[in-house]
């Protein structure tokens, strides 16, 4: 399998002077094309920092990060913006939809930013809207939709540019259990039907159980790794619970 993401000895320090916190402590791992990887860990374990560093919205203090074979840690700011636009897709806890734009405009915005042309943007919009079943919501504004619908729109926006890697930061954090389940089914659809590569940060063992592989972080280091193998979601869930219990039991249990 082709390697989409490769991280080598990434270190991240926060603060300066006498108060310095080591948020990431020499992390190394890789994600193959088409893989669905979840990162779990307690609050302060460094999982959001890791995602931000991979998302290029924060810089690593040391180490190397390769996405699609490109070393992003060496890129300049403008090049990073273009890279983020072209190679990455994002799904955030707070949806991060622009409240002034319609759902259709929100989803198509990454294509507009890439200046792909109106006709192609329209075709792609219809394609992802059909795939994620939000074709009838395109003319609405975010405030007119439920949390689950908004997050599905955010997913559609994340995949519309067909990015190398989709990053999701606590995507179910603002959703109830029913909408969380719906969203994870959407993620699975993105993963299996559309072949997207996903890297997701979550607290929730149920959400984590949808992933192919789980990385557990503790004190800025990878503490454990769980592979699905041929196991069902329920089996994965049990495994996650036992790992989090060993980790310190700080993960949310539903």
């Amino acid at each position: 399998m082709k390697e989409i993401l490769k991280i080598q000895n990434v270190v991240k320090y926060y603060g300066n002077g006498s108060v310095v916190i080591k948020a990431l402590d020499g992390i190394s791992f890789s994600v193959a094309k088409g893989e669905f990887v979840a990162i779990m860990g307690a609050s302060g374990s460094g999982k959001s920092t890791l995602l931000n560093v991979i998302a290029t919205i924060d810089r690593a203090s040391a180490g190397e990060i390769y996405i699609g074979g490109k070393q992003i840690s060496a890129m300049r700011e403008e090049a990073l913006s273009a890279f983020r636009r072209d190679a990455l897709g994002f799904v955030f806890q707070e949806y991060n939809l622009l409240d002034t734009l319609t759902i259709g405009e929100n989803i198509a915005l990454p294509l507009y930013l890439k200046k792909v042309g109106h006709d192609r943007a329209e075709r792609e919009l219809q394609r992802v809207a059909q795939a994620l079943d939000i074709g009838d919501q395109l003319q609405k504004f975010p405030y007119e939709l439920s949390g689950g619908q908004r997050q599905r729109a955010a997913c559609a926006r994340a995949i519309i540019t067909d990015p190398s890697l989709i990053l999701a930061d606590e995507p179910t954090g603002a959703l109830d259990s029913k909408n969380s389940k719906g969203l994870m089914q959407t993620f699975q659809k993105m993963h299996t039907a559309l072949g997207s590569t996903l890297l997701m940060v979550t607290h929730d063992p149920v959400v984590g159980s949808y992933a192919d592989r789980l990385l557990f972080l503790k004190d800025g280091k990878i503490w454990s790794e769980v592979l699905r193998g041929g196991r069902s979601r329920q089996e994965m869930h049990r495994e996650i619970l036992s790992v989090t219990a060993a980790l310190g039991g700080e993960a949310d249990v539903y």
Binding site: A55, I57, E77, E78, L80, S81, A82, F83, R84, R85, D86, L88, F90, F92, N96, L97, L98, D99, T100, L101, E105, A108, L109, P110, L111, Y112, L113, K115, G117, H118, A121, E122, F141, Y143, R157
Partner: protein, 655 residues
Amino acid sequence: MFTKLALRNVRRQIGNYLIYFITVSLTVALLFAVNNIIFGDEIAKFAQGMTEMRTGLAGFVVFIALIVAFVLSYATSFMLRLRKREFGTYLTLGMTRKNILTIFVFETAIICLIAMGIGLVLGLFIYQGLMAIFMHLLNMEFAISAYSMNGMLFTIALVTGIFIISSVASALYLKKVSIYDLIHGDKKVEKSVKHPLVWLIITVLTLVVCICSIAVFYWSVDEIMMKGMNANYLFLSLFAFAGSMILFHVALSKSLVYVLMKRKRFCSRGTHIFVLRQLSAVLGSNALMIGLLAFLLSFSVIAANVCFVQKAMQELSLNQNCPYDIVYSDNLYSTGDTGKVPLPQAEEVIESYKHIEAKYPYALYTTGKNDFYRNTRWSGEGYAGLTDSFMSVSDFNAVTQPLGFDPVVLNDTYLIVANLPEITDYDWENFTFTWKEQDYKYGGVTREYPSLAYMYFYVVVPDAAVEDMKKEVSYMAYDITDGEYDAASLRQALSYTVEREDGAETYERTDFRFREYSRQQENATSAILVVGALFAAAIFLFMAMAILALKTLSGLSDDKKRYQILYRLGTGEKEQGRTLFAQTFTFFLTPFAACILISVPTAMIIKHIITLSGMAVLQWQIYGIAASIAGVMTLIYILYYAATYMIAKKAVVHR
């Protein structure tokens, strides 16, 4: 505790309060400077009639202050909205709305007090600057002017009034707003303007009305000056222009984005759709304010143009209306005059002021008939007593040659000298004047001579023709030695009392017209007009810019989140900067662009009026004045915009 909290808030919010602070300081400075002029004794010494105008000007300043109060209330409510989350949090912590209002009013009071202090100090300098302009316009030497205590008290009273009005506006907002709205803001984003197509049609219609009203105004000026038509159409076109200007901007604000969003390809390029949606919300909800700002800015542009051109025209107008230093005309119709000064005695009085270098006598004669007037609109009912006036060609040449004109030669012809442009439009060429069995054919009609007699027109004829006519008015034009003199005092010395026929009233009059006295009068008028126009233009410009800036800045907390999303989606710093520029510059430009363009028709109309008045020489100067006013206003506007953009960029663009 509230005092401490308010003081800490002022320190913490100093960045947010900056534009508000600058606006209040400049407003106080301008109000104080103008109030010093109104209430000070300096101008009254030089400008006759100033004392009488004081009440009127104070009323004008109060009117301006009311507009300022309205605008600052609007600005204060922006400041309130800018911090609504903070106030929402206070409410959830158990503070009452009264507590929050106390904190906010205390904060704004601190800002206003500091701004008033700085504004008053700044006003001292602006006052001296305005006085320097004033003195220059009065042709007087400038010296540091004294300040007026009344002016300062009036300014403080006005600013206090403005502050109370804006506090009441804040109280009303705080009273009705819900905690949810304070904390979460307005969740419902304006989906789109209702009936955008109707607004688009109104935009086009009001633009047509606006252009037509300018055309009608242009035409009315023609009709009034050439045919003596009444000014109904002129006023109608002015009202139509003002109304259409406001409505055009309201409709444009509501339809501009709609039109652009119809262009799908344009929308799907870069951040265009983002900018358009941002503008849609801000323009749509502020359409009326933009309309009013556009009106105020247009008023500033037109008023400044008219006043500066009036000043530029002054000398030419003086040459046209008072070609000689002093002109005497005997009043053959007056009765009951007492104390009338005989001419030889009057000349002695003049000599006591200035040496008479030359005298040019001339006279007007009448046939007692209206052969010429019959060809004009001044005939028939209501004009029975109006008879033609004639001047002999030798008199005419004697009085016009010293002014630099070539002598006129008439061979049994007549020459009509017109004071009104419409006289030249009548059909004179086929008219032959017959007097004492002698025919005088048309020899021309002209407006190139200055005004020697105060009537619509008179006819210059060969000397032989006036021999049998009755003398109507005798004139004596004087050239006196150059240099300043007390023209007002000389005029007073040569004035006398006239009793009306019913004996009920008397009034002062003089048979002399003094060029220097007219100059002083016109200087005072144009000085007041120019300074007044400058003041109004500056205030309106600052108000407009403050509103636009504060409106932009009050939306920054929401914009910050939106630009963060753009950043995460891969919009770089430069692209974000360009997007913010497109968003804020369009908002700033909407009420401003048309107002600056108004300079062009304004200059054209003024040029037309001046051409009709026979002062074509000023034509290019008018375009220069219009360009200068537009340039200065644009420069100030750009500076204010640049400050706003830099603050906004620092707040919302992610790096």
